[in-house]
Symmetry: C2
Subunit: 214 residues, 2 copies
DNA sequence: TAGATTGTTAATCGATTAACAATC
DNA sequence: TAGATTGTTAATCGATTAACAATC
């Protein structure tokens, strides 16, 4: 008896991250006016291998032409689609300190279609003011704002000791995805997407390598 | 003929990252006054598995006692040592914009023993001023500063189009490790440690998952 | 047609998980 | 001694790389 083969193929996270890198390189090629590109050329441009590039793309479809390569504009568009970047995403930032402020103005988010809509903080001096165009509200107003504005994504840039508490509030407010900068183990229900960005760990990998490779 | 078996065991980067997470949890246990901990308890504290914890530690030695577990203080110290954090590390930041400024004052670096020593920028209005205690110098002074102060690590927080150029200067100045925030493919000689932190990619992994898992 | 390059399958490599003897 | 937990080996799982038929 042959079981119906359902393609429940799991896509490695490394693949998603590489797709993001490919899309930036393709963006560069589009601007340069290049029409066609091979997996080998992409690999060279992003320090990968041709097989890896083709494998990553193969999870999602057949985007190339044998003997020819890939249409640059088309592949670029396809990858942005795969990543969910065919639309703009409204994002809120919790925490209006140095990091939150820097992230609010970070060009790299805007370039990829992420729009910071508001900052939430508990500092009375900041509440009611604006950072450039972006309003700063009290954390107590967060749940209502999320619901009213249908916000799906939040960035948590508060001191570590408040991070879990803030995340709990976000979950209650029905946020779908959280990018957390606090170097703490944070717990969320399994249906919530959580990504931890630990800045210090990155330096620690470097010190480990300095100490051991040399 | 039996070849001499040299233990050139390669340690997964994922292990290093987890060690960093373990060390933070152990720090918490130290402060809580806990004396002994098992691999199972660590695993629970950091969302991992007991086997993973023991495997990660086994790359570096035998730190526990069978039937008992690990001495919290000792294990904490051992892991910091493995990561190279038994010493303080002087770090410079290139780029005094929003992100560079935020990173300069980021507590998470200080807590782990990273000391930001100086910022380098090309903005005439900033050069010669200070950000808190941290002096801002011209990029033209960078090479001399690195050599004089024996700086090993640098953080690159300049606009993407300048990133490779800045990295080249750092390499010439004999820097050993670079943490790069520019979302560009950066090339360095193989003896230089390079780590790319791409903030937008993290949001893109979230949008991908939002789009596909739900 | 000949040359090039894809999409895909098979082989390899590496990391995680499970199992268990060692031992406190 | 009995129970607990480590350190380590073996089994499994997953991701990368290599190879090649398909095909432009």
């Amino acid at each position: 008896m042959k079981a119906l083969k359902i393609k429940a193929l799991k896509i490695p996270e490394a693949t998603i991250i590489r797709l993001s890198v490919y899309s930036r390189y393709l963006d560069y090629l589009v601007k340069k006016g290049v029409a066609t590109v091979s997996s080998g050329e992409i690999a060279e441009g992003v320090n990968s291998s041709p097989a890896q590039v083709r494998k990553d793309l193969a999870y999602f479809g057949e985007f190339g032409t044998r003997g020819v390569g890939y249409n640059v504009q088309n592949l670029h568009k396809e990858i942005l689609n795969i990543l969910g970047l065919e639309q703009k995403w409204g994002v809120i930032i919790v925490g209006g300190g140095n990091l939150g402020t820097a992230l609010t103005q970070y060009k790299g988010f805007q370039e990829r279609g992420f729009v910071i809509k508001a900052i939430f903080d508990n500092d009375e001096d900041k509440i009611g003011t604006k950072l450039g165009d972006i309003p700063i509200y009290a954390v107590s107003e967060m749940e209502e704002y999320i619901s009213k504005e249908k916000i799906k994504m939040a960035i948590v840039a508060v001191p570590s000791r408040y991070a879990q508490e803030v995340v709990n509030k976000l979950v209650e407010a029905d946020i779908k995805a959280i990018m957390n900068f606090a170097p703490r183990v944070i717990t969320v229900p399994k249906e919530i997407e959580l990504r931890n960005v630990d800045l210090a760990v990155n330096l620690e990998v470097l010190t480990f390598n300095l100490k051991n490779k040399n």
